[in-house]
């Protein structure tokens, strides 16, 4: 599409917060909200290392605010990395200068299936990493909370456990030692409930829960439902009780929307692929578009690393068109964290595409 045929972008009529709140209620705002999930990539706006961004709440907050100023995205997500909770349960982490922190898989806290009882409930407000995220939420809420949604983040208990035990070993333990796994999941979940509520108290408008393994590429539906479904459901209940909205994030392929909704009942689901059973985004929009707000659509790797700006604009336009059937219940997003080393201009182009093609009558 040439620039000559492009519509003229209209000035935003609503704040990001108003826009997202309306979209999550299937009420058409001024335009489609855009949330490219710029998290770790924000560190490049302020020029700090990943290691610092991951561990210094003040620096991370400043980076996220600066990125929002630059890009104009419609929501903050405090997804720092998937090892935040794991460290506070005892897992040793590695903090690369220019990459996401990850567990030292050569030194797992749970070295065998006999170690599951080493998992003890902790107070997230007295930990190192979860407290950092709570502080980031607080900082963002203070800086921009009146106009931009602040979405806290909690990794599901099975996901947290996989960081502490090792993914492959945990998956095998689901079959070999189910009772031990369930006990650890239960203990971890008590902390996660406290953690989610602490983020709400710090000013989060919503909590994003990530049940990563509710995906057909990883676990059988019944297996996920047994080992994590009811537990993440309990986190969701606590979040709603504390007065915030519940959103689900899962960047796995083939998310079990039926079971996720049954257990968590979120207002929106952020996802990178069509739901399990939907062969395309068009089919997904038809099957699920009016049942739960889709936050996603555009492939993060394509947007961050492959496409030209014209390509990003066109891909965004296609998804806005596809989700017109959702009657306002759609947020254009990458459905997965924006690639930390990806082209930041592409995130800005997504927002521009929202203004160009996502206007509601």
């Amino acid at each position: 599409m040439s620039t000559a045929t492009r519509p003229v972008p209209k000035k935003d009529q609503l704040s990001s917060l108003e826009r997202v709140v309306l979209a999550l209620q299937y009420k058409k705002p001024d335009r489609v909200p855009v949330a490219p999930l710029v998290c770790g990539a924000s560190r490049r706006v302020t020029g700090i290392s990943y290691a610092r961004w991951s561990q210094d709440a003040e620096a991370a907050t400043a980076s996220l605010v600066a990125a929002q100023d630059l890009i104009g995205f419609d929501g903050f997500l405090t997804l720092v990395d998937l090892s935040v909770e794991a460290e506070d349960f005892g897992q040793k982490l590695i903090f690369p200068e220019n990459g996401t922190a990850y567990p030292d898989f050569d030194d797992q806290y749970l070295k065998s299936a006999d170690d599951y009882d080493k998992i003890k409930r902790v107070d997230p407000t007295k930990t190192r990493r979860m407290k950092t995220v709570i502080d980031i939420v607080h900082g963002l809420a203070k800086a921009r909370g009146q106009t931009v949604p602040v979405m806290g983040f909690v990794y599901g208990p099975l996901g947290v456990l996989s960081q502490i035990r090792g993914h492959a070993e945990l998956f095998k333990d689901l079959i070999r030692h189910p009772a031990r796994v369930l006990e650890a999941v239960q203990t971890i979940n008590l902390t996660l409930i406290d953690y989610a509520v602490a983020q709400v108290r710090a000013g989060a408008h919503a909590i994003v829960i990530d049940p990563l393994y509710s995906s057909a590429t990883i676990l059988k539906k019944e297996t996920w439902n047994r080992f994590e479904g009811p537990f993440v459901g309990a986190i969701a209940d606590a979040v709603r009780e504390a007065g915030a909205a519940v959103i689900v994030h899962n960047c796995g392929d083939g998310v079990y929307f039926d079971k996720v909704i049954e257990n968590i009942n979120p207002v929106g689901i952020s996802h990178a692929y069509p739901a399990y059973g939907s062969k395309s985004w068009t089919e997904h929009a038809e099957n699920w578009g009016k049942k739960v707000v889709t936050i996603g659509g555009v492939d993060p790797a394509q947007v961050g690393h492959v496409l030209s700006q014209e390509g990003v604009r066109e891909l965004s336009r296609e998804h806005i068109e596809t989700f017109k059937v959702a009657d306002g219940g759609f947020i254009l997003s990458t459905g997965c964290e924006f690639p930390p080393h990806g082209n930041l201009l592409s995130a800005k182009t997504m927002v521009e595409a929202g203004r160009l093609y996502g206007q509601y009558e």
């Binding site: 996401t100 993914h167 079959i175 590429t217 676990l219 993060p300 790797a301 492959v306």
Partner: protein
């Protein structure tokens, strides 16, 4: 079905039923009975993993089941491998495989390794969090035909391009087939960085590798 065929069937069933102990016991029994180790591997262990792979494709088995089937197969393989008569084994193309630096998610890579193992390749596994230069150095050292690189994260996918950049810089790009895979990877990304092939599923790895080797032979001829 002969007694020996029945035995292989029993071994394949043990792998497919995720029974590591039974698999190991049967592998030991095969050695005691003097069955050909290579035939036992192919008709027992590999057949069992193939079945598990089919159940995975049909969404009967998922990652946990496939991992345990792999454990069972390797338990049997450890016992049988020392008894394989080398002359009976055809030349195997060598594949250097690993997860790129910064990424430690290796389940996908392990499944690809398993598929390649049972698909007739000699696999040199570099593990996870592997620096780009190490892929190149090890491929040169072992005389690999294929370099297979995986990653699960958008944060680390650029390391794959770095492997190809090093190969180009050293003037040896044409000596290796580079295949890539992992959740954020796509054919367009493979095209962009100049990889030879991309696989969306572990089960595609063998077909992809064989197809690219054939293509290379045709070009060379």
């Amino acid at each position: 079905m002969s007694t020996q065929q029945e035995f292989y069937e029993k071994l394949a069933t043990a792998v497919n039923d995720l029974d590591e102990e039974q698999t190991a016991a049967l592998a030991r029994e095969a050695v005691e009975k003097g069955y050909d180790a290579w035939e036992t591997i192919e008709q027992g262990l590999v057949a069992g993993v193939d079945r598990a792979g089919k159940l995975f494709d049909e969404e009967v088995y998922f990652i946990p089941e496939l991992l345990i089937a792999a454990d069972a197969m390797y338990a049997g393989l450890d016992i049988l491998k020392p008894h394989v008569k080398r002359s009976g084994e055809a030349h195997k193309a060598k594949v250097v495989i690993g997860v790129i630096q910064g990424d430690t998610h290796d389940i996908g890579k392990n499944l690809v390794r398993l598929m390649l193992d049972v698909g007739g390749f000699e696999v040199i596994d570099l593990g996870r969090d592997v620096p780009p230069q190490t892929f190149v150095d090890r491929a040169k050292e072992v005389g690999a035909e294929i370099i297979a690189i995986g990653t699960l994260m958008t944060t680390t996918m650029e390391g794959m391009a770095e492997v190809i950049r090093i190969l180009n810089q050293e003037g040896i790009r044409e000596e290796f087939i580079v295949i890539i895979g992992g959740a954020p990877i796509s054919q367009s990304y493979a095209d962009k960085i100049g990889a030879d092939g991309y696989g969306s599923k572990a089960s595609h790895a063998v077909y992809l590798a064989k197809q690219l080797l054939e293509k290379r032979k045709e070009v060379a001829a």
